[in-house]
Subunit: 228 residues, 2 copies
């Protein structure tokens, strides 16, 4: 057993798991802020970081954590949720150690007078409040293998939905927020198997509850409600 | 704090840290065997894994572990050991959580009658006996960014040495073992700053103690001694 401490927490618009992008490659526009925990607010520890375009985050699937429990097989959403694959052949949260791995783009690094060193990143598939264990630079010579065969994820690319806004986008929603919302919706946040065109879904996003329906290949946003 | 359990251990020819490749990109030929700990010898957990060409290993820098201690800056070997960089801008072992990240190539997967599911991988920069916390598939669409700028690692590519064998390669050394040894030697295992051409270094490799000298850009292997 090894103890890992939370060194930072992430902040973004995905307040719940529903709608959260399922991989970083699907959340290109989602902006997140990484705020260090107090003992790690040390600017020296980030010296040179702004020269890296991308970073790795190693983090905790804190909402998926189940003490001592793990299942050898899982049903990945990409396979429609009806095919079982070994957990080590997936990036599923339900694994022996609840540790996640995500490559993000470093958009900005600065020192905040209250929070100390802050990283603004895009492309994180982490829910708001997720604890982070480590931040490492992305090294293409060790980490990039564009042509590596990737099993079932190669065979079945998920179809994306067309997104129609049947309600005005709130004035308070920024352009990057709107783009990240588009991405989340077009990747179909519904659980596998559900295809009732009358069903209204609600997705917490920033300070809104985004209500939508899906019919065939089209997702229609019905309304933006203030958060409950 | 989160408790992580060791799910597997790696076995290879690097019995000590000296000479161990400093990134996976420098250990292409090094073959390692991953043997699961008993509770994880479950073939179902690997269903589909052989369709992936590459895997991530998340592991523990177990020899670098220092309870509660970390240094905000480190001196990466690639910068000659004389320039300080923030720990989060490096892949140094001396970080708040002693966690390592390595992309390996999956060479073979099989079920051993004693050890259960076994993974044979190449390219691991992990010392023999290193505890592994997680094994994940490599997904190019989420993990591969060949053109990402990479700070100081872009600016200074380490020079490699010419390797000369002044002693016969032992009959018991396989061709892949010899290739992996070549890689380790040409990447200059010496600590930074050392440049005494008369000094004899000894590197534990497999069942041998490999003795060598370095003069200028040439590394000469003097002898292969049986392990002490």
């Amino acid at each position: 057993m090894s103890d890992f401490q939370c060194i930072a927490k992430i902040q973004n618009d995905f307040k719940t798991k529903f709608g959260l992008p399922r991989q970083s490659g699907m959340a290109e526009h989602l902006i997140s802020k990484i705020v260090m925990e107090k003992p790690f607010r040390v600017p020296d520890a980030f010296r040179g970081i702004e020269e890296f375009e991308r970073l790795w985050l190693i983090w905790e699937f804190h909402t998926a954590k189940k003490e001592g429990e793990w299942s050898p097989t899982v049903r990945p959403p990409r396979l429609g949720g009806n095919e079982r694959v070994g957990v080590f052949a997936t990036r599923s949260p339900y694994r022996p150690n609840s540790v996640g791995l995500t490559c993000v783009k470093l958009e900005k690094y600065y020192i905040d007078k209250n929070d100390g060193p802050v990283l603004i990143v895009s492309g994180a598939d982490l829910q708001d409040g997720t604890p982070i264990f480590d931040i490492k630079p992305y090294l293409p010579y060790a980490d990039s293998y564009p042509d590596a065969a990737a099993g079932f994820t190669d065979r079945r690319q998920k179809k994306t939905l067309s997104v129609v806004y049947g309600a005005p986008v709130p004035a308070g929603m920024s352009d990057p927020q709107r783009k990240a919302l588009d991405e989340a919706l077009k990747n179909d946040p519904r659980p596998a198997y559900q295809s009732d065109p009358d069903r209204v879904y609600g997705m917490r996003y920033g300070s809104w509850d985004v209500r939508f329906r899906v019919s065939g290949e089209t997702l229609t946003v019905i309304s933006f409600e203030p958060e409950p």
